[in-house]
Symmetry: C2
Subunit: 488 residues, 2 copies
C-alpha cells in the first residue's frame, strides 16, 4: 500500500521497509542456530493460515513482517542454520545476499549482450576468474574456444551438455528431425538423479542410459563402462555421452576422470563432469587431486550455490567448445536480431541455456569473490573439511559406529552397528529434536547416515554438539524396550 496516488511504493517507504528487512535478515542469521532446523509444520498447516482470497486493496507491508514470524518461519527448514548437515548445503553469506539485492534492484535481462552488456561481460570475466581460482584446464577459459556460463543448477548444466552432445554426435540431425533412437548414454549408479531426468527430457529414453556399477568407494568401475560401450557399439547403438561425478550425492564418491576421459575420447563420447558440491574444494591446492583428468572433459559444472557462500541459483558451467553448445541451443527470431549479435564479437548467453531470459546472477558471485578473496574462501573450505575429518575420527573411535567409507572431503557417511532400525531411530530422533538435521543414503543396500559440513556458520561447537546428539539418540534406541523396534 502507498499514499502515492499511483499505488507504487514511495522511495521513503522503500527505504524504511528495506532497512527493516536488512535488520531482520541480520537478526535471522544470529538467531537461526536456535530455531528447529527441520520444520515441524504438518501438511496444509501453512496454507490454513493464509487467507483463501487474494487481497482486494493493498496494505502496509509492515503486516507482512508479522506474518513472516507467525506463519512463514515455522514452516521453514533452516538451510542457513549452522546445525544443518543434510543433503548438500545451499549456503549463503552477507555479500551474496547484497549482490542478489543489487540484481533485483537493477532488474535487467541478460538474454542478449545488447540487453545489458555488463550482465554478459561481468559473467564471462567471473567465470574466467573461477577457472583461475579452481585451477581448471585452460580449455575452459573464454580466451580460446571454450568458456563459462552461469546456469540455474547442475540439472540445467547436465541437460545443456546432453543436448550439445546429442547434436554433436548426430550432426544437428536430432534437433532437426527428432532424437536418433540409437543414442546411448552412460553414468554411474551413483550419478545424480538430474542425469536420468535430463536423459528423459532430451528424448533419449531412460533405458538408453546405462548405469555403470561403482566400487566400494562409490567410484565408477571403468572396466564395466568400457564393456558397456563396446556392447552397444557392437549392437549398432550410438554411444554419445558419459557423465562422471566428483563428489556423488550419496557418498561423495570420486569417479576416475582420467580413465573415463580416455574411454570417452577413444569412443567419441561427450565427457561431462558434475562437481556440484565438491568442485569447490579445488579452491585449495591440496584438494585438487579430485579433478585430475578434468582436462579430458567437454563440460564441467560446479555450484557456488552449494558450498561457496553464494545464493541459489548459481551453477558455473564450463565448456571446452562453446560453439557445440551454441549450435545446439541457438535460436534467432527477428525480434531479437541486433547489430552486436550479428557482428559475432559478443556472447549472447541465451544460446548457452534452456530458457531465454536470465538474471544478472554474476553480481552475487562478484560480491562474494571480492569480499572473501581467495584467502577467505580457502580458509572456510579447509575448515569444513577439517571438521568433517575430525567427526569421522570420532566415528571410527567409537565401538558402536563405523564409517561406510573413508570421507574424502566434507561429507561423512556412517552407521550405527545396530542395523536399519538403529540408524532410522537415530536419524528420526535427531531430526525431530530440531537441534540438527541429517539426511540419509542407502549404500550397498544399507541405510547410512550422512553428515555434510558446509553451512556458512558451522563451527567446531556445532559438529561436537551433533556428535553428542547422535550418541544420545543411539543410547535412547538401545534402551528401547520393544524388540521389534530393535530391528532386523
Amino acid at each position: 500500500m502507498s499514499d502515492h496516488p499511483s499505488y507504487h511504493m514511495t522511495p521513503e517507504e522503500f527505504r524504511r521497509l528495506g532497512y527493516r528487512l536488512i535488520d531482520w535478515i541480520a537478526d535471522y542469521e544470529q538467531r537461526v542456530a536456535d530455531l528447529p532446523v527441520l520444520s515441524r509444520a504438518e501438511p496444509g498447516s501453512i496454507r490454513a493460515q493464509l487467507p483463501a482470497a487474494p487481497p482486494e486493496q493493498g496494505e502496509a507491508l509492515d503486516r507482512v513482517f508479522e506474518d513472516l514470524e507467525r506463519i512463514i518461519l515455522p514452516g521453514i527448514t533452516h538451510w542457513q542454520s549452522p546445525n544443518f548437515f543434510a543433503y548438500f548445503p545451499a549456503n549463503t553469506s552477507g555479500p551474496s545476499i547484497l549482490g542478489d539485492l543489487l540484481c533485483s534492484g537493477l532488474g535487467v535481462q541478460g538474454m542478449l549482450w545488447a540487453t545489458s552488456p555488463a550482465c554478459t561481460e561481468l559473467e564471462t570475466q567471473l567465470l574466467d576468474w573461477m577457472a583461475e581460482l579452481l585451477a581448471l584446464p585452460a580449455e575452459f577459459r573464454s580466451a580460446g574456444a571454450g568458456g563459462g556460463v552461469i546456469q540455474d543448477s547442475a540439472s540445467g548444466a547436465a541437460l545443456c551438455a546432453i543436448i550439445a552432445a546429442r547434436e554433436r554426435k548426430t550432426g544437428l540431425v536430432s534437433n532437426e528431425s527428432g532424437c536418433d533412437g540409437r543414442l546411448t548414454a552412460y553414468a554411474s549408479t551413483e550419478a545424480h538423479s538430474s542425469i536420468e531426468k535430463a536423459i528423459k527430457i532430451a528424448g533419449i529414453g531412460r533405458k538408453n542410459l546405462r548405469l555403470i556399477p561403482v566400487d566400494e568407494r562409490s567410484a565408477m568401475r571403468t572396466g564395466e563402462l568400457e564393456t558397456a560401450i563396446r556392447t552397444d557399439i557392437a549392437a549398432g547403438r550410438l554411444p554419445f555421452f558419459v557423465s562422471a561425478t566428483i563428489g556423488t550425492t550419496a557418498a561423495n564418491g570420486l569417479d576416475p576422470l582420467p580413465e573415463i576421459g580416455r574411454i570417452a575420447s577413444q569412443n567419441g563420447l561427450w565427457f561431462h563432469v558434475d562437481g556440484a558440491m565438491s568442485g569447490t574444494a579445488a579452491l585449495c591446492p591440496e584438494f585438487r587431486y579430485i579433478q585430475e583428468g578434468l582436462e579430458f572433459a567437454d563440460s564441467y559444472c560446479t555450484n557456488p550455490h552449494k558450498w561457496m557462500f553464494t545464493n541459489f541459483d548459481c551453477d558455473c558451467m564450463f565448456v571446452r567448445d562453446r560453439s557445440a553448445l551454441i549450435r545446439a541451443l541457438s535460436i534467432l527470431p527477428e525480434y531479437l536480431r541486433n547489430r552486436a549479435t550479428e557482428s559475432g564479437a559478443v556472447i549472447d548467453y541465451r544460446d548457452w541455456q534452456i530458457p531465454l531470459g536470465r538474471r544478472f546472477r554474476s553480481l552475487k558471485l562478484w560480491f562474494v569473490l571480492r569480499h572473501y578473496g581467495r584467502e577467505g574462501l580457502q580458509y572456510h573450505i579447509r575448515r569444513h573439511v577439517a571438521l568433517a575429518q575430525e567427526f569421522a575420527g570420532w566415528v571410527t573411535a567409537h565401538p558402536d559406529f563405523e564409517l561406510a567409507l573413508p570421507p574424502p572431503l566434507n561429507l561423512v557417511c556412517f552407521r550405527h552397528r545396530g542395523g536399519e532400525a538403529a540408524n532410522q531411530a537415530i536419524l528420526d530422533g535427531i531430526n525431530r529434536s530440531g537441534k540438527a538435521y541429517l539426511s540419509h543414503a542407502r549404500l550397498a543396500g544399507q541405510l547410512t547416515l550422512r553428515l555434510c559440513v558446509g553451512q556458512t556458520r558451522t563451527e567446531a561447537e556445532h559438529v561436537k554438539a551433533v556428535w553428542q546428539l547422535i550418541q544420545q539418540a543411539a543410547a535412547a534406541w538401545q534402551k528401547t524396550p520393544s524388540p521389534k523396534s530393535r530391528g532386523k
Copy 2:
C-alpha cells in the same frame, strides 16, 4: 573483507552495507529516467575495466559501489527506465525487490515440501490467488486435479508442457525408450521462439513442429491447423501438442482459443497456452476476452515478471491435470525419500519443473499482491493500455505513420510510410539517442516498429516524449541528403 577472524561479514557490516544498497536502489529508481536507456558500451569495454585475475585477499565492499557506478552502470540497458518501450517489459517494483531480498536472506531450497513446507504451501496458495485474480478456469486451481507452479520462464513452462504432453500421448514410453519419432506438434508462425527451442530439446525435431500461418492480426488460421493435423494423421504421424499464444511477441496477436481448443480436444492433443505478457491484462474484467477458451487448455502460463511488477524470474504455470506433469518429470532417488512425500499429502515441486533446486520465489509475488492489492494492479494495467491506445491514436492521425495492426492492449506496432530505410533510421536514431528504447519486428515482411507500454514508472509524459522523438527522427531522415539512405 571483514575484521572478523572468520572472514565472514559481521552483522554490523551487513547492516551498514545493506542500508547503503537499499539507498542506492531507491536513488536508482529516481534517476534511471535520465540515464541512456540502451547501453552505449562497445563489445569488450566492460571486461577491459575488470582485473584479469581474481582477488587474492578480500576487500571492503564499499569499493564495489565505486565500480558499480564507474564500470557496471554504463554497461546496463535500463529495463527499469520509464523510457523503456522495447521487447516485452520485465518490470519490477519496491515490494518485489524486498520479497526477493527476503528469499535471498532465508536461503531455503524448495525442491521438496519437507525441505521448507512454507516455500511450497505459500506458492500453491498464491497460484490459487493468481487464478482467482485472473479469473482462470476452476480446473487450474489446486482444489481439484490441477494446480499452479512458479517456473523460471515461459520457456521452462513450454518445455514442461511439451514433456507432459509427449508422455501422455505415448503412455510414458518416450521417457522410457526414447522419443517416438512419429510425434508432431503445432504452433503458429508467430509463436515464441521458446516453443521451437523446447521442441528441439525434447527430441521431437524442428521438422515435426508445424508452423501454422497467421491472419493479418497475427492470429493462427485454425483451418490450416485442422488441415495440418489431418494430413499428419493420414500419414501415420502422432499429433500430440498445440501451443497457442495470447499476445504474440512480435505483434500481440491473439490466437482463437475456443477453436484451437476444439481441434485439440477432437484430436487428442495437449493444448498449451502462452500468455507470457498479455495474460496479466486479465486482472481487469474488460480485457478477459483475450483468454476466452482457456477452459479447453491443458496448461497455461503467464509471467508476473513481465508486466506485473515482479522480478524475473516468476512465471506462473497452471495445469489441468497435475498428475500428467508429475508422472512425466518425477524422479525419486533414495536420498530424497521422506515421510511427507510418501504420504501423498504434499506437493513436491521438484516434479513440476526441469531442475531439482528451487528458490522461494513466491515471496516476491506475495509482497506484490499484498502491497498493490487487486485494485492497485488493475489501476496500472488499465493505465498502460490507455497510454498505448492513446499513442496508437496519434500514429493513426499522423499522415506519415500507420499502424501495422490495431493494438489490442499495450503493444503498438507501427511504421513510417517511408519504407524500410525510414523505419530503420527512426529506430536507430531513437535508440542511439539514449532517450528511449524501442525494438522491432518484421510483419508480413515489413520492418515494423514496436512500442510496448509496461514499465513500472512509465507515465503519460514518457509516452508523449517518445512520440516527439519518433517524429523528430522521421523529420531528420526526411532531410537526409543521400538518396541511398532514403531506402528502397
